[in-house]
Symmetry: C2
Subunit: 546 residues, 2 copies
């Protein structure tokens, strides 16, 4: 299949087709000719394209070395004068151009602007002998629906593609901290798939193009896995940070809602209060997540946006207490595929052998009910708004968009029905919290998804991430280092399926298909225990990888 066909975007009527072609031509034309890959290569790519940037010859060894750094190292090297902001954004920008040509991960490319900003920062550093802020010179990639002044963005539909007139709160804060913007990244139609297909196209998983990079922050995840960025910003209301990070073998956190600035993000259901999204970093290392959160909090965003909650980010010293880690292999609804189970088995064995933590088998509490409430909450208007957005752009509805707004979960609500749904949510939250307290765990280690990255257009079970959206518990995902291996990850026999979703998930498994897909795990903490989630993830990763 040609690359063009593999990355085919949402279709539409004649007017849509013409206008979307212009949009894609604009994006295409933004990639300068000196960064173009050989067209022949593009149509004969290997399943795993992560080696292409190094083999392309388009980056110097010094540039390749820069792109191997994590954000913490980048900031340190720029702050010490070892690296310039211009060299840094140039390296990541070049690699991002390549990443896009093999995964279709971008929606806007403006390296020239990034270099211009980097120059100003370098001049400041030269002149003042100090950095402007904790992220001075750090190139940060930004998901499509997060506005950057003058750049392209959309709220998940062609009909609301815009050139943003202003920075949103997050990009304004990051800019004030010294960040450099240079690319925006793809997200799916509706921004509500754990998949990544928009009017721009379909993003591919860098480790295996037969698989999705996940969504909705799928462009970010593919870009960061390709090392075209070491720090990106995603959003998550059902798994949209954690899913793609997990599918692409990178790090990411969905912070507790309302702790990170989201003012000005493009969204088509403003005022929706049933379930709150969150925004957070997707990045190359565990320490980068803390770097990002601490930097943003240092700007005191709650003074800017009164919707934000100024809970301090704790930095617990876990050497002083024995962390109690709950381990959950499955949620009682869908059994994960063999590669995920292998990673969990390894992790549990290593944790049990460690004197640093205590391991408890965590019993899930009614995840089916929780996921069901979540799905109903997403579209309390019965999906009317989505259909209007599509109609306004002449855009065809994608399979996964149709699925996400379908009954029985999605129905039209009046005020009383909405209150009842929200009350059901509150009752579930309380019951889950009681259950968690009874098990006495500090954090939970569990799958972020019932398998590795999924085959395209098959992701309908979001339960492993979405449950923690409805609970609003912070969640961190991290790579275990394990990758799906057909010689080890043979199908297992679990008897009767636990649910129709389990049966479907089981039907999707074929060891050959998932070859090379990374396996991440997820660490969950209680609401507002974001600092503990980060510290626990670091400790757990250290034990697992020891």
């Amino acid at each position: 299949m040609s690359f063009q066909l593999k990355t085919q975007g949402a279709t539409g009527d004649a007017a849509y087709t013409v206008k979307v072609k212009a949009l894609k031509d604009r994006l295409e034309s933004q990639i300068p000719s000196y960064l173009r890959l050989d067209p022949a290569l593009i149509d004969s790519l290997p399943l795993d394209v992560t080696g292409i940037p190094a083999s392309s010859g388009l980056l110097t060894p010094a540039e390749l070395a820069i792109t191997e750094l994590d954000a913490t190292a980048v900031c340190a090297k720029i702050a010490s004068g070892e690296l310039t902001a211009v060299a840094t954004v140039t390296a990541f920008g070049k690699r991002a151009a390549i990443a896009h040509q093999v995964t279709a991960c971008l929606t806007d490319f403006f390296l020239d602007e990034g270099i211009q900003r980097a120059k100003e920062l370098d001049e400041y550093f030269q002149r003042e002998g100090k950095v402007t802020g904790p992220l001075h010179g750090l190139p940060i990639s930004i998901k499509d629906h997060i506005p950057i002044k003058g750049r392209w963005g959309s709220g998940g539909f062609f009909s609301i593609v815009e050139q943003s007139t202003d920075d949103c709160d997050m990009t304004a804060v990051l800019r004030s901290l010294g960040a450099v913007f240079y690319v925006k990244t793809n997200q799916p139609q509706t921004i509500m798939h754990l998949e990544c297909q928009s009017c721009y196209g379909r993003t591919l998983n860098p480790y295996n193009s037969a698989l999705t990079p996940g969504g909705s922050s799928g462009g970010e995840a593919a870009l960061i896995a390709m090392k075209g960025s070491c720090m990106g910003v995603g959003t998550d209301v059902g798994g949209s940070i954690r899913g793609p990070c997990a599918h692409c073998g990178i790090y990411g956190i969905r912070p507790t809602s309302k702790t990170m600035p989201m003012g000005g993000f493009l969204w088509y259901q403003p005022g929706q209060d049933g379930i709150h999204p969150s925004t957070g970093p997707m990045c190359a290392s565990a320490r980068d997540m803390r770097l990002f959160l601490e930097a943003v909090l240092s700007a005191r965003p709650s003074l800017l946006d009164p919707a934000l909650i100024p809970v301090p980010l704790a930095k617990p010293d876990l050497s002083k207490t024995k962390l109690r880690v709950g381990v959950m292999f499955h949620d009682g609804v869908v059994m994960p595929h063999p590669p995920m189970l292998r990673a969990l088995e390894l992790a549990k064995a290593k944790l049990q052998a460690s004197p640093l933590v205590e391991v408890v088998d965590f019993v899930p509490y009614n995840h089916d009910e929780g996921y069901s409430i979540t799905r109903s909450m997403y579209y309390e208007d019965g999906g009317k708004t989505v259909r209007e957005m599509l109609k306004a752009g002449g855009e065809d509805i994608l399979l996964l968009s149709e699925w996400i707004i379908s009954p029985p979960h999605v129905v039209e609500h009046d005020a009383i029905a909405m209150w009842k749904l929200h009350d059901r949510r509150d009752t579930f939250r309380r019951a889950y919290s009681d259950h968690w307290n009874q098990q006495g765990v500090d954090v939970l280690l569990c799958p972020p998804f019932p398998g590795t990255a999924a085959r395209h257009d098959t992701t309908t079970y979001w339960g492993y991430t979405a449950i923690f959206n409805i609970l609003d518990y912070p969640g961190v995902v991290f790579p275990t280092g394990i990758k799906a291996d057909p010689s080890i990850d043979v199908p297992r026999d679990f008897g009767s399926p636990m649910s129709p979703a389990d049966e479907y998930n089981r039907s999707l498994y074929d060891p050959q298909i998932f070859v090379g897909a990374p396996v991440n795990l997820q660490v969950i903490a209680r609401r507002f225990d974001d600092g503990l989630a980060l510290a626990a993830q670091e400790l757990i990763e250290q034990i697992i990888k020891a």
Copy 2:
């Protein structure tokens, strides 16, 4: 007018009348005969009944002295062994019985239970030589819709009066901290009047029975002003703590929502997310507010209820910075009555003369729009639920209940209309916050109400409190020591009214009517700045009263 007529409750159909009589007989029978006032006295009460407990002869001088203490002093004296829990609850309980006979402030009286609990606490103290918690032996009065195991409560309608099977979170926490329960207090039908008339009756203002004690926590305020309690718990979604505290000359704080436990409170619109209520202390001194909040937070209620936000309560040292106090005389919608303006003038002059603070004239931002959004948010079902609750009990709708659910503010919403309303709310919040930041104030000093306590059944302008509910800014009210005085507080000429609400408010003013009504002021801080609000209030009061 007889006391019975003055305190007439909500009426209803024949079955309602019979059942409500039983409810009132139960309450009546709970007041023991040795605590009864002379019936002749009750029908010839002075306007100001605050002197009755002392003159009644029903309390010993020692008991009267106990009831003059604030909660902080009570806790300290019990913890030092100077006072017993039994003596304390006995004194407050006796005084509460008298308070009820002259203001109709109670809905349940169970001093025997309180004494039994106090005995256990005294025994523990004797045995262990220490207190069980920071509120050991403190009698706390509780608003009707806040359940105490085995006691009477209701969600604002006769149809949902219950004997509670369990403590709610708040009373469970308070109990665990050592509190002693002995009374529950009156609230209005719907719990949504700034007035206090329920099926039990109408509560009167202790300082002037022609006036309301305010609502919805009006029973609490009347009781505490009568010194039948030094610490009570109220709730506030439009002014229901601050209004009654202001009307009755006591202290109270509406904390930022979701910081204090509300799990299990009786409420007829569970799941309503547009505007969140809050709960907090109503009490005899400024320091008692902090005592209460710190004690409750010490129990870590956010571990019990995942809806709660664990923002620490700051204790800023205001001697180190110069507090910037915005002063607002009126909100641009309704001009306060002369006694309130006099208090503001005094406060401003004193603050301006103080080296400890900087005074800024605070310009209000579109309070009319804010109050309008708030009113629409209360009943997004168009008031259907209220009408059903009334119908189920055969209860007639009160004037102020009809008003609160009436168009144009109250209409039926579907999901999309609700999102639009909530988006309008979010836009207002952001604009107000920007406006506040531009004025650069730390706290705001303003009226809690456009006058002193109102005449019965006239309170339809909640703007001075409700605006800070929609903004979710913490608000503290405190007595200035000023009382309405017909010889000073003569009508003033302000030219044309600012609004129909202003015209109505103006028409209500007659210096003679409001004689003796206390004047409180309100201190507002940014969302989650509850600790600053408390510290600023103490400083401001100290300056004003110096």
